[in-house]
Symmetry: C2
Subunit: 540 residues, 2 copies
Amino acid sequence: MAGIRRCMLFSFLLFYVTECNSRLKKYNARPAVLATSGSPWPLPRNMTTTQVQYQVDADNFKFMLNTGTPSCDIIVKAFARYKVIAFGPRSETLKFRPNFRRRPNKENTVNQLTVRYVQPCDQYLSLESDESYTLVVTGNTASLTANEVWGALRGLETFSQLILPQGSGMYVINNTVIHDAPRFKHRGVLLDGSRHFLSVLKLKENLEAMAQNKFNVFHWHIVDDQAFPYDSIKFPNMSKLGAYDSNHIYSQADIKDVIEFARLRGIRVVPEFDSPGHTQSWGSSISNLLTKCYKNGSLDGSYGPVNPAEESSYNFLKSFFGEVADVFPDHYIHLGGDEVDFSCWESNPEIMKFMQSMGFGKDYAKLEEFYMQKLLNIISGYRKGYLIWQEVIDNGAKVAADTVVEVWKGGYIDELAKVTSLGYKTLLSSCWYLDYISYGSDWRNYYGCDPQNFNGTSAQKALVIGGETCLWGEYVDDTNVISRLWPRASAIAERLWSDESVNSVSAAEGRMEEHRCRMVRRGFDAQPMNGPGFCPVEFP
Amino acid sequence: MAGIRRCMLFSFLLFYVTECNSRLKKYNARPAVLATSGSPWPLPRNMTTTQVQYQVDADNFKFMLNTGTPSCDIIVKAFARYKVIAFGPRSETLKFRPNFRRRPNKENTVNQLTVRYVQPCDQYLSLESDESYTLVVTGNTASLTANEVWGALRGLETFSQLILPQGSGMYVINNTVIHDAPRFKHRGVLLDGSRHFLSVLKLKENLEAMAQNKFNVFHWHIVDDQAFPYDSIKFPNMSKLGAYDSNHIYSQADIKDVIEFARLRGIRVVPEFDSPGHTQSWGSSISNLLTKCYKNGSLDGSYGPVNPAEESSYNFLKSFFGEVADVFPDHYIHLGGDEVDFSCWESNPEIMKFMQSMGFGKDYAKLEEFYMQKLLNIISGYRKGYLIWQEVIDNGAKVAADTVVEVWKGGYIDELAKVTSLGYKTLLSSCWYLDYISYGSDWRNYYGCDPQNFNGTSAQKALVIGGETCLWGEYVDDTNVISRLWPRASAIAERLWSDESVNSVSAAEGRMEEHRCRMVRRGFDAQPMNGPGFCPVEFP
């Protein structure tokens, strides 16, 4: 009997191996890059995995909060959300065509993830939040441990990425132990609601994509020269007269909606109201706010940056930013301060007089510094922190010690060194302007850019709190925002989360392929990034 | 009484003008380019329009075939289709927020378009078809006259573009007279189903977009090195072993579906089965088809182009292309012939012997010519015409006089002169490779490229039958094909349809803005092309 059983086993193995091999040979297709399987993105700090696989009981799967872990809406809603993200809407999983039929094994089935964290939930993620977690999948138990609920959120995302669909509604997961925490605390995506309006639906779709890439800051560049879609409570004419039209406005309800959607995903919403430049659209409604420009001694009909010589400007700013401080719960507001064109100021006689009275001579950088410091004081008065673009510092302004300076221009390696040497917290975005598109696999360039790649002390390096990828809206709107941003932004997501040493493009490319197809399977128009190929599940 | 009425009229006018002006001033927004209103794209050959506007009765609108005009499914289905394209699904039009309320005027309401053409419908558009039409909208009658049903199709599209939504379900149309006909008869879009599979749904969405831009050839580059998704009847293993997987296959039913969808829109489907290069995926299933490469005198395991020295190759090609000739109704088949790498042929001893026996010496271009001529004879035997890429001619092959040569490489101005001097019909695609993306308003470059811009006789110029825009699939799939192609391809649509003199980018940019927003309103993800701005109707 033993002999026959051995023979049957051998025959089965022979058949199995031959079948497998011939199936592998069958599709002699040539994707440029072969996708990995079961590799999370971004790569966890510490991950060990074995070949041992467990069934995952999708139909009966439960996310459980450990007794003693303080519940809150964030975790409850995350459990519901990740049930769908991991297993798809159940009717859809039945449509997966089987590519490999595995015989169910009741002994090694994972049907639950136990989640525990220590701290009661904060309402909102902050710069200081702890996003670390430990994830253990062994035997048929899976447990996720964190200090704060934010770590649980990040761990849930990773867990969902470890679950591998096998077709016909079957899922497996490998024996895994992960200890993970982000390298940088500020991992942002900038979207531009002014150059082209982005619908609330698209903003939310993008926030979900961000969460699945562990981005944690939505830098909402909500107004600019071209349009003012922010529907101000105190100054309703700003959008009535400054938006493209009444269909391209973010109402207070919309803003609450976006903030809440982000909050539940552990994403901070940092609004940017850029001044004194980039404010043309403010002038439609706030008379005397913008500087009137002169030519050959008389008004030429055009306007420049905010008029820094008028007390009315600061009265307005104080009132306006009081509202902004209320509407946006994050501790930080981005105040802009970039690309201030001095020529209108230089042309204006009242400003010339003001310069003289202040003893600024002809140094308009001093006038800009004067404006920025008054503005920063206004914001401090509301007990908010602020981010500014690099020019403010470049032009010599002295700003409060806890200012976060965002480096966006060329020559950023030297700039990072300079800004951190002055003691400011710093963000890098220069190498991550995703509005600049080009042919080919450009994610590799983004992947290779490191925010701590400059000459400096470890104290300086520690001042780099992270970075942001910017998708300026000149050529971006609802029609192309998702495919333009994803999965290119994923390269930056990993650069900001994973360890510094995780920088090999060749090691990453198969994982990027897997990650892009994962995003596609989850319903995002994440575009091809690696040359010819395909995703196993890509058409609804 | 007269005085009071005059006063009331004056008050109304004053109010009206003030309201209008203040409304114009209200949105002091700054799109980079302001859209025109009521300008069709592509620009008709001859169009006069006046300020006189008529209401269009959307609810009761009828497309009518004039008595005596032979009906057919093409026109019947077009009538149904254009009812929706012009007026939207009726429930949606009620959602349009009113931006300008016009008082209905029953006297000047257009509620019908009478269509007449002379010739009975051909089943399929051909290179020789007559797409000319005349469109007249005066008083409250609208009439569309053409020689063939294809002109009626083109005229219906133009008519639909003249109908301007006013909000609240109201539409107007200007007094218009149009005489129109295309400058070039072959106006094509190439899509690549091999580097990335494109779903049938996306192909059809794109065919509809093409029809709305008056493109009339879908150049279906359906197979290539990386994958063979074409499900052959005679050689089913070609897709079984050559496709990426079984979910990435074009079945015979799919192909019929695409051809029919195109047919009804007056779009020819020209398949490309490129050889002898670009055939790696063919080798999975057709043994001995591809040349075996040698290194240092022994087989190195890799394969090269189709083996031109084996009679079995031609037996296969004859059988395979017999099927292709049946499956694809268009008179033309694209045979490729580009980028043939001679190195594998050079390494193979059997081929070396063959070269000697044929007296080709070491001139592999002669071997390529030998192959191409045998292939062309096979196709001629099926009474089909063929298109080929330029290399076949560049390498000195002599091909049949009615061959269409597609110029795709750099140096195309000289190449156009050369190919036409040899007497071949010619297509230009070199300057229209839309897979090459870059930041900004690149449609302007595509718009500026003219297929007859070379030194030659008028006989030579007449041999340029049109052009094609190519969207190779290395970085394109369902996630981004529509936004990458549109509205950039619209620039080429106009270049190929409209008069040569319609070449001013500054005159076109406002119309391009209108056209892009029209495509967006009609449901296509046509991306922003002109810098900051917005579309009046853009979110579902």
